[in-house]
């Protein structure tokens, strides 16, 4: 072994190549440095500080802090408010993620088939995306108002009982999820439309000649597999958006009646009660959720996706 090494060392061109490689490596590092430092300063370092803070009892403005180890996490797990915020968030995601993806796909398929009216539908469905959710929340508050709102007026006309969409605890998260859907479907539709436009016309022709005569056959043979990369992207972005639900909760319910969600709980602890250490721990939990979800998507779903 050492003999071989010695032999190699004795070959001048090998050494020359090695120093060349080293120099090349140094040059490469130099090129990578600006991007890496930026990444470090804006993403990696804050996450590191966050993790460190999550093990302390630091409060905003305090001069000292104590290490509490996993104390914050233990407290979170036994905190009924936090546990409720986790289940609420999961329920919200469970409605918005499949709904936001499938509804957007359906709308995109319908809009894609339109002729001249396509532009109108595209704009109409996209409007909620451009409208600020905070302003639109006020409109929703009116629309869903038990006595003044048109929704309840219609329900009453049809003979149903009046519903307090934003006051009945069991209806709160589904109502917020509905608004979330309303907000996200247009955006996902545009992504699906882009995906649909990129499917070669030939494939539909071939499928038709090959015997895929029904719309369902054509969808399963061509559209759905060809949309897989788009769907993958839409699923990832929609789940992230859904996990981050905050503004509708803050405006419409302010977390009352058990409508807390993860981000709102973090906001309360960190910016209302200034318990930065505890809020950092909750954020770490939130990040772990996102990480687990993303890893699942990247490893399980991605395998079934064919990238043209």
């Amino acid at each position: 072994m050492t003999d071989t090494a010695a032999v190699i060392e004795s070959r001048p061109w090998q050494t020359a190549r090695r120093t060349g490689k080293r120099r090349e490596g140094a040059t490469g590092a130099l090129f990578v440095a600006p991007a890496f430092l930026l990444l470090l300063a804006t993403v990696l370092a804050p996450v590191g500080i966050l993790v460190v803070l999550s093990f302390t009892d630091y409060e905003l403005g305090a001069v000292t802090f104590r290490w509490v180890g996993l104390g914050n996490f233990e407290q979170a797990l036994s905190d009924p408010v936090f546990r409720r915020s986790v289940t609420n968030t999961l329920l919200y995601v469970a409605i918005v993620l499949p709904g936001g993806v499938l509804l957007a796909l359906l709308v995109a398929l319908l809009v894609h088939g339109r002729g001249k009216s396509r532009v109108f539908y595209e704009v109409a469905y996209f409007l909620p995306v451009t409208a600020t959710l905070i302003a639109m929340a006020a409109v929703w508050q009116f629309v869903l108002h038990p006595r003044l709102g048109p929704v309840n007026a219609v329900l009453k006309m049809l003979g149903f009982a009046e519903q307090g969409f934003l006051s009945t605890p069991s209806l709160l998260i589904p109502t917020l999820a509905f608004i979330g859907l309303w907000n996200i479907v247009g955006f996902n539709m545009v992504l699906f439309l882009a995906g649909l436009s990129s499917i070669p016309r030939d494939l539909y022709d071939a499928a038709e000649v090959d015997g895929a005569t029904s719309a369902i056959d054509r969808f399963l043979t061509v559209t759905w597999p060809m949309l897989a990369p788009t769907t993958m992207f839409v699923v990832v972005t929609t789940s992230i958006t859904a996990f981050k639900v905050f503004d509708t909760v803050a405006i419409l319910t302010a977390g009352r009646d058990g409508s807390e969600v993860l981000l709102y709980a973090i906001y309360l602890e960190g910016f209302q009660y200034f318990k930065i250490g505890y809020a950092a721990a909750l954020t770490v939990v939130f990040l772990l959720f996102m990480l687990a979800f993303s890893v699942y998507q990247a490893t399980q779903l991605d395998r079934r996706v064919h990238y043209g």
Partner: protein
């Protein structure tokens, strides 16, 4: 299981543009017919109408004597090979080839992955399909590629997969839409050969769309040349070459392209070029303009001599191995250039040196004459003076 195809008075417009104008075409069982023409002539649209991918505005399409105008593409029992192959990129080669069979023989429920285990009928059919795919794949020498995805294949291999997908169903009619246009030149010649073999082996009816006249000429029993939505001429390849019905057919068929010279019809129908009467007469009114078509191989060049009809200066000559193509500029007021095909064994190689003057002669019986509208005029030799005995073919042209 061959079928004849008949297209009767089919018309098609896209908006204001008339793409097909009253097309009729009848194809015998086992025949290989090419639809050829410049891009935008409607050839692909006609093929898509035959396949059922496009609906005609008027007229009827019948396969095996049965009108199929109301039938879906899959019910017409045709197979189609697309220009871009149209392979399903997410499926393996095996699944691509098997798809026409699975779609037809299995219900949508039976195609679900889990049913495979439960349904004995499904596994029996799946085994049958696998057998057919295997045999077609070995015919086309793609059996080692069955597990791959189309993205991992070369252009030629994809072409074979597309052919296999068309073959597997044993259709009565093969439709091919420029199947070779995405291949490089060498592969194109090779695949052309294979398509010819395939046709000979299957004995099925082929309709082949191409813009490449060489493909059309070499593969087909008959060629239909489309122009602005109409069939300008249909016939055996050699008919289109030897007796083009219009000037545009003459220009489209043949490589290098036919030479076109302006001419006039004078008294008695005699044709004149640049004021010089030619020993040839046509049916046409005196004073009308006409065009002469001269195939590159029907002209000869020699050292310039007095009284030659055409004196030209050699611009360039290309060696093609067995022959040379000599490009010359006509030295007269009318001008113009000619391409002349000269066998490489031609003794007067000095004559084909760039910059030299040569005289160009031709056999008047080999000329194609077209009227001002581009329609072919029938020609006959102009009655010779009794004092002049019949001359040799070459001299008849050269001495004028």
């Amino acid at each position: 299981m061959t079928a004849d195809l008949s297209v009767e008075r089919v018309s098609k417009s896209f908006g204001q543009t008339k793409v097909l104008d009253d097309i009729s075409l009848s194809v015998e069982p086992g025949e290989f017919v090419s639809l050829v023409g410049a891009s935008g002539c409607g050839k692909s649209t006609l093929l898509r109408i035959i396949a059922g991918l496009e609906a005609q505005d008027q007229g009827d399409v019948a396969i095996a004597g049965r009108s199929v105008s109301q039938l879906s593409p899959s019910a017409r029992n045709v197979a189609m090979v697309f220009q871009n192959y149209a392979l399903y990129p997410h499926m393996s080669v095996f699944d691509n080839v098997a798809l026409p069979l699975t779609m037809r023989q299995l219900s949508i429920i039976e195609r679900l992955p889990l049913v495979r285990l439960a349904s004995p009928r499904r596994s029996r059919i799946a085994a049958e399909i696998a057998g057919k795919v295997g045999s077609v794949a070995s015919q086309l020498r793609i059996d080692h590629l069955l597990d791959r995805k189309p993205g991992q294949l070369s252009g030629g291999q994809r072409q074979r997969v597309a052919l296999a997908r068309a073959l597997v169903r044993e259709p009565s009619l093969f439709l091919m839409d420029e199947p070779l246009s995405n291949l490089d030149a060498q592969l194109r010649v090779q695949m052309r050969d294979e398509i010819a073999d395939l046709h000979a082996r299957l004995g099925a009816t082929f309709i082949y769309v191409t813009h490449d006249q060489v493909e059309a000429m070499t593969l087909s029993h008959r060629v239909a040349l489309l122009e602005a939505g109409r069939i300008a001429q249909i016939g055996r390849p050699i008919e289109l070459y030897d007796r083009p019905a219009t000037i545009s057919v003459a220009c489209f068929i043949g490589s290098p392209a036919i030479n076109i010279l302006p001419a006039q019809i004078s008294a008695g129908g005699r044709l004149t070029y640049a004021g010089t009467p030619l020993p040839i007469a046509v049916d046409g009114s005196a004073g009308a303009a006409a065009s002469i078509g001269l195939r590159p191989e029907h002209a000869t060049i020699s050292a310039p001599f007095d009284g030659a009809l055409l004196i030209a200066r050699v611009r360039r000559s290309e060696h093609h191995g067995p022959e040379q193509l000599v490009h010359v500029e006509i030295q007269s007021a009318i001008g113009g250039s000619l391409t002349i095909r000269v066998p490489d064994s031609h003794p007067e190689t000095a004559e084909v040196t760039a910059g030299n003057l040569v005289s160009v002669s031709f056999d008047p019986r080999r000329l194609h004459v077209f009227d001002a509208q581009g329609q072919r005029l029938s020609t006959r030799l102009f009655p010779q003076q009794p004092s002049q005995p019949a001359k040799s073919r070459k001299m008849a042209g050269a001495a004028v």
